[in-house]
Symmetry: C2
Subunit: 244 residues, 2 copies
DNA sequence: TGACATATATGCGAACCGCACATAAGTAAA
DNA sequence: TTTACTTATGTGCGGTTCGCATATATGTCA
């Protein structure tokens, strides 16, 4: 049997189709700790559990548009770094009905992350602890207000674990770290983001050299303000050619 | 408006839902050239164009199961390395109706790839040329029988480009290369796979050292046969702890 | 003016990589 | 049996990178 031929004669109304949603992993680094925005569910299934914000994909809406719409509706945010993560399609992942969910992660600088948090009553901040080293992957611990680790609704814990692994993996060779920083930032702030994501202490001179040699950083000539010690130079991220 | 609350009261029959398919990028390295299995479409849209094998996701079937089913049905293959790649959800990607497609790529050793090719009349081998360096990403050139490059149906060309980028990216830090080799292989064969995927010449002593120091290779004590010169040692891939 | 804290720069040894070259071990021809 | 030939395998060296220790620079504040 040739299924491609079948596809030609396929009657879409003849077969039951799954629903498709997008779930959003809205991440940042707050005070040196990876954080994510969660919503508390108030109905079954998983009532009172924490979950990722999400929404159904409209029939006339692309996946990316759906992700951006959810970002705008749920977090009142636009212009964030948004990237598709993975699609979760286990049959029983939602006990009510068949739902396939495309997970996206969005990265926000700390200030805009906190702004989204305070502007939106439904959202709560959760801190992440990654119990594994490197990019191995696996589950992460989620704490909502310094309390004990909680278990997320659905497979959202799995999504979060995958997002952290991906973030760690992309940190070194891509510019994702800069999506977590304001437009102008110090090398120390950049290193803080790296250390928070990787959960490691990095060597300062080596880190500086590596970053500066890479050519992605443009000195602004300005210096940070408000320190009681020598202020650091502020840099700007200059997007490398390939990612243009 | 809180959409999570909406979701609770959501009536799945009230909204039109997209169809969901999986498309399979069946790859190998044949005689030092990256290759993929394609099917020729014989109906509109994109009649006579080359396309990736694919199929609809059943309502009671997980995405991974659907990918494995398509692999079994279309290529008469099981036990391949299969990994989800990306989900394509542009609204107009299929002119007939809204179809969201989850792309998977599968890696096969050359012998099993050729076996699938000869056992299945619908499948044709296409050679890939990657016009960009590194892991930049972008479109790849597809040649079906040494002819000029062809344009694939739907967004399948995009899928192929993404697959090559992913493959290049994962080559160094994961064991994907071994999915393209038979169970026992020489270091030269391993290097050939690397060079085909990366489209670069690699330094032999350095490659050997790196691979052996990594600890993933287990010498079998046996040597390759049929050479008219010194036969090389055959190695086996020993899965590293983390991936277990 | 000097204490202090951090930014920024430099120098050194270890690890890694590319490269040239040396040696080993098979086959096949002389 | 010997020798040519081809590839496998091993070794040594210089350049680059990285971790680390240390030195110098530059702000604030007492």
């Amino acid at each position: 049997m040739d299924e491609t031929t079948h596809l030609e004669r396929y009657d879409p109304s003849a077969f039951e189709r799954p629903s498709v949603t997008v779930d959003l992993i809205l991440m940042s680094v707050i005070d040196g700790v990876p954080a994510v925005l969660l919503m508390r569910r108030d109905e079954a299934p998983f009532a009172a559990r924490w979950a990722l914000p999400g929404g159904f994909v409209g029939i006339g809406e692309s996946l990316d548009d759906a992700a951006r719409r959810v970002l705008a509706d749920k977090a009142h945010m636009a212009d964030a770094y948004v990237e598709q993560l993975y699609t979760f399609g286990a049959v029983e992942r939602d006990p009510r009905m068949r739902i396939i969910s495309v997970a996206y992660f969005a990265l926000l600088p700390a200030d805009r992350f906190v702004a989204a948090l305070t502007a939106t009553a439904e959202l709560s901040l959760a801190e992440l602890t990654v119990p594994w080293r490197g990019e191995t992957g696996g589950p992460v611990e989620v704490r909502v207000s310094g309390d004990d680790a909680v278990t997320l609704a659905f497979d959202h814990g799995e999504m979060l674990g995958l997002a952290m692994g991906r973030l760690r993996g992309k940190l070194d060779y891509s510019g994702v770290a800069f999506a977590l920083l304001p437009e102008r930032f110090t090398l120390r702030a950049l290193q803080d983001v790296y250390e928070a994501i990787l959960d490691t202490r990095l060597n300062k001179p080596a880190f500086r050299r590596r970053m500066l040699d890479r050519g992605w950083l443009q000195p602004t000539g300005e210096r940070e303000a408000g320190t009681s010690f020598r202020p650091a130079e502020l840099y700007r991220y200059r997007m490398p050619q390939e990612e243009q």
